[in-house]
Amino acid sequence: MKLVTKLMTPLAAATAIAALSGAAVADDHMSSDMTIVSWGGAYQDSQIKAYADPYLEMNDGVSITWDESSAEAVAKMRAMNEAGNVTWDLVDVTAASAMRLCDEGLAMEVDHDEILAAAPDGTSASDDFGDLIVSDCFIPQIVYSTTVGYRTDLVPEGTPEPSNICDLFDLATYPGKRSLEKRPINTMEWALLCDGVAKEDVYDVLATEEGQEQALAKLDTIRDEVIWWSAGADTPQLLADGEVFMGSTYNGRLFSAIVEQDQPIGMLWDAQVFDLDGWVIPADLPEERLARVKDFVKFATDTQRLADQAKYISYGPARESSAPLVGKHAELGIEMAPHMPTDPNNAQNTFLYNYEFWADYRDDIDAKFQAWLAQ
């Protein structure tokens, strides 16, 4: 009996403390902690520095827990919803995932003008974000692009550095391994583009069976030289190792490897594919948590905060009104504008991730692509 009492005392004390701290939450009708889900790495750091830290400074007693689970956000939100135990308050996902979560009712539909701040000149949030609001649940943050990096020191002598997306498929001029993403999106478009399909026809062609065959046939020509990646960190690592000569990845990762880490790497902007990343709020949050999240999101997506984020990472702010405010890199002091995917010089030949096309064809093309990979 004595032993049992001894064991129980600290447990009871812990319970009491926990209950007390739980009670403190009720003030102010906003919960005092949030769990925010993001991607980790340099991107999450930019969010912390640009808006999470300033927000915490303004709001004493609030704490933020970061969960680096954005990569499996859709699956985890389904499981949490099923178990009736949603622990996340705000989730950073790509636009395509946001659409899926919205369709499944796992993310909350929001009125953008009501919950987001207007631009300093009074433009409403929905006009300021414009077309980038691709779903009723999606609160855009940044525009990023998928593009191609290469080792500058492995370019054969006497050959100019690669500048065209089709150099990816040109093994004769640029021999060496390539790393490409292990999914059809972007890769299939680039293959068709380099097989003579005009840019405006790419999706029409890709919608047909023959078009898909054509893209895979083009990929067949470099297949033996390809290492397939699945996480954004892979290609920069492979390039730094010199294990591949060229590889696709996100432009912010390349910026970090080239400018911050000083690696012998160069990058292309040709045929970069734009995509969007932003917040969704899980559906059916308790009132206090929802109030806190709304307060945070309003602050974190205002014009100045989105412009501030660009000081830490080379992703373009999603608000039109933020673009003129983009300044210098916070530590290196270089102008960030020329490193933005949206900079006019870089954006001469671009693709915008075609959400509608991939929503309709993704399962079908995915199956074909995976079957082709397994051959």
């Binding site: 209950a19 889900v37 340099a42 990569a71 622990t87 954004g232 920069p236 730094a240 190792d241």
Partner: protein, 406 residues
């Protein structure tokens, strides 16, 4: 020279020693040649160097063996220094050490020292090949850890052996990843979580596991085998299946605790992960304690009872001290299970309970940074220390058992 074989003859120099050492040299030559993309030239150079070394050391038969080995190593290191700087010195010294050892081992006939004199050459060959195979098994088990520890001192933010590292220049190395690990919340919070979760889970597994093992060792318990099988099952069922089950089991339990007892979310999260990890640890405790109980003399408990001790006193004063090594090693296994566990915590825990392996898992996927290697090196060191403790305890227990009567 050997108890088994007191009079070993030195083998014939040109028929045996020279070809053997030349072949051995050829292996090193081939590997070194490969680095410079000239494997065949390396191969021939290795054969010649090996043959010359065998003849040279044979001339110096009067010198003690250690002088020959270290002399060879020094000579190779000097050659390495001429071609490859600091890296060459280290490489040369290592190659020279093995070449010198091999040459003297073959040349003096020591390779027959471990076998009876009536063994045929084939049997001697097998005996020595077997030893080499064993050595290689150990090498391949340990070798993957070495680059991890080495790379963790990288001055760059990639998993890459830079030229500066390979030539052992100071600027290629830094402790910055260790500072990153020790100085950032990103790693210290998970470490703290691991250090909260693992000891408490261990405590629970050890208490429950020890009691279960003692109970199951009593002959009158019905269905012992079946109960044992159920308790051991977390070790056998694939972890991902246990984890999914636990996720759906603990989620409503946690909700209930929060709603009815007013506990806060973070506290409930810890409770869930700790209980889940305790379940995973229990089988290890049961197995080790059951094994220790086999050697436990039951008449001691009867003697204690005879002298008026109640069962609880008997347990703490008589039984516990004798089975303590088993309990402790079970506890260490339970601790390491919880400390290394990533699947269950990913399912059952939320971000607040992020443990060290979880952080390593996401870090490896999202940002390949050598900080993970620094963390891994620290964890490996801790694991080695823990296992050394287990081994020392096991030896102590054996010694004690050897001394105890019966």
């Amino acid at each position: 020279m050997s108890v088994l074989n007191p009079s070993i003859k030195r083998p014939n120099l040109f028929k045996f020693t020279v070809p053997m050492v030349a072949a051995f040299g050829a292996i090193f030559g081939f590997i070194t040649g490969n680095i410079y993309h000239q494997p065949l030239i390396g191969l021939f150079a290795g054969v010649i160097v090996g043959a010359l070394l065998a003849m040279g050391l044979d001339r110096l038969a009067a010198l003690p063996r250690w002088q020959k080995i270290w002399g060879t190593s020094a000579a190779f290191a000097v050659v390495g220094a001429i071609f490859g700087g600091v890296g060459g010195i280290v490489g040369g010294a290592v190659v020279g050490l093995s070449m010198g050892w091999f040459t003297t081992w073959i040349g003096s006939g020591r390779y027959r020292a471990g076998v009876p004199s009536y063994y045929t050459p084939g049997q001697v060959l097998w005996h020595n090949s077997f030893l080499f195979i064993c050595a290689f098994v150990f090498f391949f088990l340990i070798a993957p850890l070495l680059p991890v520890a080495w790379l963790s001192f990288n001055a760059e933010d990639f998993f890459t052996f830079t030229p500066e590292m390979l030539s052992f220049k100071a600027e290629g190395y830094s402790l910055k990843h260790y500072y990153d690990f020790l100085g950032s919340d990103e790693w210290m919070v998970p470490l703290k979580n691991s250090l909260i979760i693992a000891p408490i889970a261990t405590l629970i597994s050890v208490s429950l596991g020890t009691l279960a093992a003692i109970g199951l060792s009593q002959s009158h318990v019905p269905g012992r085998q079946a109960i044992m099988a159920v308790l051991i099952s977390p070790m056998i069922v694939p972890l991902i299946i246990s984890a999914t089950g636990m996720f759906f089991f603990y989620a409503p339990l946690g909700n209930w605790l929060q709603a009815n007892l007013g506990l806060n979310q973070a506290f409930v999260g810890y409770v869930k992960v700790i209980l889940a990890h305790a379940v995973l640890g229990i089988p290890f405790v049961i197995i080790t304690v059951t094994a220790t109980l086999v050697g436990f003399d039951r008449s001691l408990t009867r003697a204690a009872a005879n002298m008026g001790a109640d069962p609880v006193t008997t347990f703490f004063r008589i039984q516990m001290p004798l089975i303590l090594p088993g309990v402790i090693s079970g506890g260490l296994f339970a601790f390491i299970t919880s400390f290394d566990e990533v699947v269950v915590v990913l399912f059952v825990g939320s971000a607040r309970q992020q443990t060290l392996p979880w952080q390593m898992f996401t870090g490896l996927r999202e940002q390949i940074s050598p900080t993970i290697l620094a963390a891994a090196t620290i964890l490996v060191t801790v694991s080695i220390l823990l296992l050394t403790t287990v081994e020392l305890l096991r030896r102590r227990s054996e010694r004690l058992r050897g001394m105890s009567p019966g």
